[in-house]
């Protein structure tokens, strides 16, 4: 579960995630409005001293690609990839901003958010809505800034001007026509329809021309450039400050926000909040950590006095000497919450969400969405009002009745809420079908949308345990969750593709299955062996595939 941030909250990135490769997604929408979402890489004076670090629709990445614009995806209006450890030392702060392109004001926006995703897991979310703003035309949404360590701050600061005013606020320039930079000529074309008049990208991305770091006006509290969208000649220093902020002075992305002591934003889980004022735990490189294991015998490992009273682990709050030296990788800050952080639930609005390689969450939707059929007993947890019913359709009976070896019973999950499926720590693979068809060995089906057409097929052959191999063919639009023991292999179907009937997991429905029996010449080589092995041979047009797991039962 992501940590929810409120306006003004800050946290160390390392408390949110151990990773440095972050995905920052912004969702901001409004009726009839379009938004430009940009990232400003600012120096220690909060100036855009190098305009190659102004990441926006026209300049999608910084030179060393530590900042990249990824575009709209996963429900986000705009998204960025931020690689913290590749950001050059001159960049101290990344300011994520959203500006209205065209008409409108920020009070009209629908509820939106900025979220930080690391390692496929959302770790921070700052939600905002139009109620927090009035006539502003831009928002400084959030900052990722360097103060000893990288930190995240939810800013939520309205700004009266558009993108050009915001750019000047950060000391950048709005060039209108500058023949030197090739991009300038095309600039008007880049501006989306109905663009703010006078807006043009800053002088060319690759052009080394650094904006003349202008007067440190912005270092002072409550500076504000003129919001007037008057284009500035390229060489002109930034405009004069003008009291144009839509918010109380002293708030406009002012450095004071970041000089305040970092407070820990409230967690979704109350236990394990790191107490404020705690020394930077888990950040300090291990000064006293012994270099190797043999340091233990009687010697104080991790700087601990032998025979010290229990409970006095240095580095824990209340104990003197913060030289404990937490390893940075396990991300074990103090307390439960830090240890649990990497196992948090990943919230997304999709119907099927993979929580980790072995667990799948199905969101049934509120108010009786589409039911899900799942293998009985595969539910490990659910939230909401979900009913589990026995799925006693005819086909199930057929499976059970026909094959003693391959018993498969399904349950039907209806209602509203989230259900987590897992079984025996098997790896789960969601297969999304869009009108195509796939055959899955009945043993390997974990769950599927009821909207899919499914039918049971029986492949008979001597030597197959239980006399036949039962497969389920799925067709239609929806998702099938397949479980495998171990990492499966996907093979293209060629004229000579064979698979063990016990290890086969799935195959594309267009390929044809043939039972092939091989008589072994040396049948005495394996006592007790039938002397005959049964394989499945697959035939099909190129493009068909089979999936095989490294496990034969």
């Amino acid at each position: 579960m992501a940590r929810e941030f409120q306006r003004g909250h800050k946290a160390k990135i390392s408390d949110l995630t151990a990773g440095t490769d972050l995905y920052v997604g912004v969702q901001i929408t409004g009726p009839g409005m379009t938004f430009d979402i940009s990232c400003f890489g600012l120096d220690d004076k909060e100036q855009l001293s190098d305009d190659r670090y102004f990441i926006f629709f026209n300049q999608p990445k910084s030179p060393e690609e530590s900042l990249q614009l990824l575009g709209a995806q996963s429900g986000d209006t705009e998204s960025f990839r931020v690689t913290l450890d590749r950001i050059p030392a001159s960049i101290k702060k990344l300011s994520f901003t959203a500006t209205i392109d065209g008409n409108g004001q920020m009070s009209q926006i629908a509820p939106g958010y900025l979220r930080v995703v690391a390692g496929g897991e959302e770790v921070a979310r700052y939600s905002f809505s139009g109620a927090e703003f009035s006539t502003e035309r831009a928002i400084m949404v959030a900052d990722i800034y360097l103060k000893d360590v990288w930190r995240f701050a939810a800013v939520g600061q309205g700004f009266d001007g558009g993108l050009d005013a915001l750019l000047r606020n950060f000391g950048g320039e709005v060039a209108e026509e500058e023949p030197a930079a090739p991009e300038q000529a095309a600039a008007p074309g880049f501006a989306p329809p109905g663009g703010v008049p006078g807006f043009a990208p800053p002088p060319g991305g690759p052009a080394p021309a650094p904006a003349p770091a202008p007067a440190p006006a912005f270092g002072a509290p409550a500076p504000a450039p003129a919001p007037a969208p008057v284009p500035q000649p390229a060489a002109t220093p930034p405009p004069l400050p003008a009291p144009a902020f839509g918010a109380p002075p002293g708030q406009g992305g002012d450095p004071a926000i970041h000089q305040a002591p970092t407070m820990v934003a409230p967690m979704t889980a109350p236990p394990g909040q790191a107490p404020p004022g705690q020394p930077p735990f888990g950040q300090v490189p291990p000064p006293g950590a012994p270099p190797a294991a043999p340091g233990f015998g009687g010697q104080p490992p991790f700087g601990q006095v032998p025979g010290q009273a229990p409970g006095q682990f240095p580095g824990q709050p209340g104990a003197p000497g913060a030289g404990y030296g937490q390893p940075p990788v396990p991300a074990q800050g103090a307390g439960l919450a830090a240890a649990m952080q990497k196992y948090r639930e990943t919230p997304t609005g999709q119907r099927w969400t993979q929580q980790n390689p072995k667990m799948m969450r199905a969101d049934l939707g509120q108010g009786g969405g589409q039911p899900v059929l799942a293998r009985q007993g595969s539910m490990v947890l659910y939230q909401g009002k979900v009913d589990f019913g026995y799925k006693g359709a005819g086909f199930t009976g057929r499976i059970v009745g026909n094959a003693t070896g391959q018993e498969m019973q399904l349950m039907r999950c209806t209602g509203g809420g989230q259900v987590f499926f897992a079984e025996n720590a098997a790896y789960l693979h969601p297969i999304e079908l869009q009108g195509d068809a796939i055959c899955v060995s009945a043993e390997n089906v974990l769950a599927f949308d009821e909207s899919l057409q499914h039918e049971v097929r029986r492949i008979e052959g001597h030597g197959i345990p239980g006399g036949a191999l039962f497969t389920m063919q799925f067709q239609g639009t929806g998702t099938v969750v397949v479980k495998t023991h171990g990492t499966p292999v996907v093979l293209p179907v060629t004229p000579t593709t064979y698979a063990d009937s016990n290890a086969i997991v799935a195959w594309s429905a267009a390929s044809q299955v043939i039972i092939s029996s091989q008589v072994r010449l040396r049948r005495t080589a394996y006592p007790g062996h039938s002397g005959e092995t049964v394989n499945l041979q697959f035939r099909g047009a190129p493009g068909n595939f089979i999936v095989v797991q490294p496990y034969e039962v």
């Binding site: 294991a293 025979g307 010290q308 229990p310 809420g417 720590a425």
Partner: protein, 223 residues
């Protein structure tokens, strides 16, 4: 090939070596309770006391009361524990408390306050091995999970969170829990018992669940 698996320098009292091995830096005076039979290796001078009196006292409610599946480890050295390849999660409690399913408890600092808890109304689960150990204080706890666990917040919705008792690993103390039995004739969840058991959690806190419903107590055999 061997080089990649050498132990990393000690950085914390309990830490993972790989995903499924626990490494404890043992120091005299700071004993550890660990599951009986979970030791896979040790280095240094570590002594084991199976079925220590303190545990016997505490765990009188434990199962049939025969021998508690805990041993006390003391001494100096490095102690490696594992539980049949299950994932290990180290928790550094900071004056917090957590309830851990007894089957999933691997080790904890002896100075922590702990006790065997039985949940009211869940006595029927005890036969399946559902008893839990409440641990609180300041120190380390190591928990096992079959597969990567998932942490779910209970407070996020108005509805309760229902967990299959076989998949339950741990939960934050303070959650209200109760047993839920689905009496619907058609309801068939769980291990084919014909009756659905779930544990319902409500309140503010989190629940840790493993992606496996295999709660068999593997180490009980070894005693």
């Amino acid at each position: 090939m061997i080089a990649g698996y050498a132990p990393a320098p000690v950085a914390a009292r309990m830490e993972n070596h790989g995903s499924s091995m626990l490494k404890i830096a043992m120091v005299t005076g700071q004993d550890v309770f660990a599951r009986s039979g979970s030791m896979v290796a040790y280095e240094g001078f570590v002594q084991y006391e199976p079925n220590p009196p303190a545990v016997r006292q505490m765990a009188s409610a434990w199962l049939t009361g025969e021998s508690a599946p805990l041993m006390k480890c003391s001494g100096d050295g490095l102690l490696y524990l594992a539980d049949y390849g299950a994932d290990v999660v180290c928790l550094n409690l900071n004056n917090e408390s957590v309830s851990v399913n007894g089957t999933n408890l691997l080790a904890f600092d002896a100075h922590l306050t702990w006790g065997v808890e039985r949940v009211k109304g869940l006595a029927k689960f005890a036969g399946q091995g559902l008893f839990n150990v409440g641990v609180s204080g300041q120190g380390w706890v190591a928990v096992t999970s079959r597969g990567t666990p998932i942490v779910v917040d209970c407070g996020s919705g108005a509805d309760e969170t229902y967990v299959d008792p076989d998949a339950l690993v741990a939960w934050s103390s303070g959650l209200k829990m109760k047993a839920k039995r689905s009496f619907r004739a058609g309801a068939l969840i769980g291990r084919g018992s014909g009756e659905a058991f779930q544990i319902a959690f409500s309140g503010q806190g989190f629940v840790v669940v493993q992606p496996s419903e295999d709660s068999t107590d593997r180490l009980r055999i070894r005693g």
